[in-house]
Subunit: 204 residues, 2 copies
């Protein structure tokens, strides 16, 4: 096959893909504030949410972050947002550490409830276009927060155009049910298995 | 069960998890520049990579981005990085658009090869601690780049402490094989199915 033939075939194939894509996209006209869930045992749940927060910042859209469990996003990320973009993105760290570090359910529950109050406040503020509830799934899993309260609030009180992103492993089925966009980060290969430690820039 | 009993049980359970985690982490001592792959049909591949780039920026680590296909990361993200963090993060957009937009294999191949040259230059620069090759998997899938050339370079020429992140659907098995950390973003639910259009802050 000559290069020219190959080019012609490629152009025809790509033309078909483009036409199909254009037809598909033409039917997508609604604008809607989404309930977005990042779950699964793989990496990237908080990083991808953090990437979306930066995407909002890049567009000049007001947004907010509540960290339910310290360590989901690193303190480096928090410092960068609060120091450079504090005018457009509110940042609240409510958890005091991973649950296996604290070992105190009463205190963890109090902290999770305080974080949820802050989350509701940010979501109800019509100026905010996206609110990230980082690692809230951990608080839900351990029963620090009531799943029905969270899903009821999101389903009935969230302003129609506000996006809410919820991260953490083991997302509750009730949350998946009301979500618009759910991604499961699946672990295919992890360097811890080869004795490599957590590293700056990658894990924190 | 009283609250006190519940707290005691919880503390014991969390104590066991912490001890197991501490033992596991103590064996992870190696520092290594990782080959990281984000693939799969779900969302978050580029966002999570972009989140890691911002994590590096937050730590003051020099880094670089090469976009193989325009549209993987939005122009908003590019502008934010180049305008605010251009001193610490190099940003190069080499693709001219999605392959189904251009429909010109010869030109796409030239652009992909130019992007790969820039990628090698950034990776070989020992000042860079992380280099993101955004949507390179698309260029590899369409044969614009030779997979053996890419894997050979990463396996033999990448400085030992430099992290390289490669994103895009349909990662080649040869790339998965040499990677240290692979996450498959799996699509669980997507709002396009409900007629919702791509929205600022979420998709771009």
């Amino acid at each position: 096959m000559t290069t020219e033939d190959d080019n012609t075939r490629h152009a025809a194939k790509m033309g078909k893909i483009k036409a199909a894509r254009d037809r598909m996209m033409a039917t997508k006209t609604a604008e809607k504030g989404l309930i977005i869930v990042h779950t699964g045992a793989g990496k990237g749940k908080s990083s991808a949410a953090f990437g979306m927060i930066f995407r909002c910042i890049a567009h000049g859209m007001r947004c907010g972050v509540v960290q339910f469990i310290k360590g989901g996003m690193s303190t480096g990320e928090r410092d960068l947002i609060t120091e450079r973009f504090g005018d457009i993105c509110a940042f609240h760290t409510m958890g005091e550490g991973f649950t296996w570090e604290t070992q105190d359910k009463t205190r963890d529950t109090q902290l999770a409830k305080a974080a949820w109050e802050k989350a509701k406040e940010l979501i109800l503020d019509p100026e905010n276009r996206m609110v990230l509830l980082d690692e809230i799934n951990i608080a839900l899993r351990y029963g620090y927060l009531d799943i029905a309260e969270v899903t009821d609030f999101l389903a009935t009180r969230k302003p129609p155009l506000t996006h809410v992103v919820l991260t953490g492993r083991n997302a509750k089925p009730e949350l998946i049910e009301i979500a618009d966009l759910v991604t499961e980060m699946e672990l295919v290969k992890h360097p811890f298995r080869a004795g490599v430690k957590a590293q700056k820039g990658v894990e924190f």
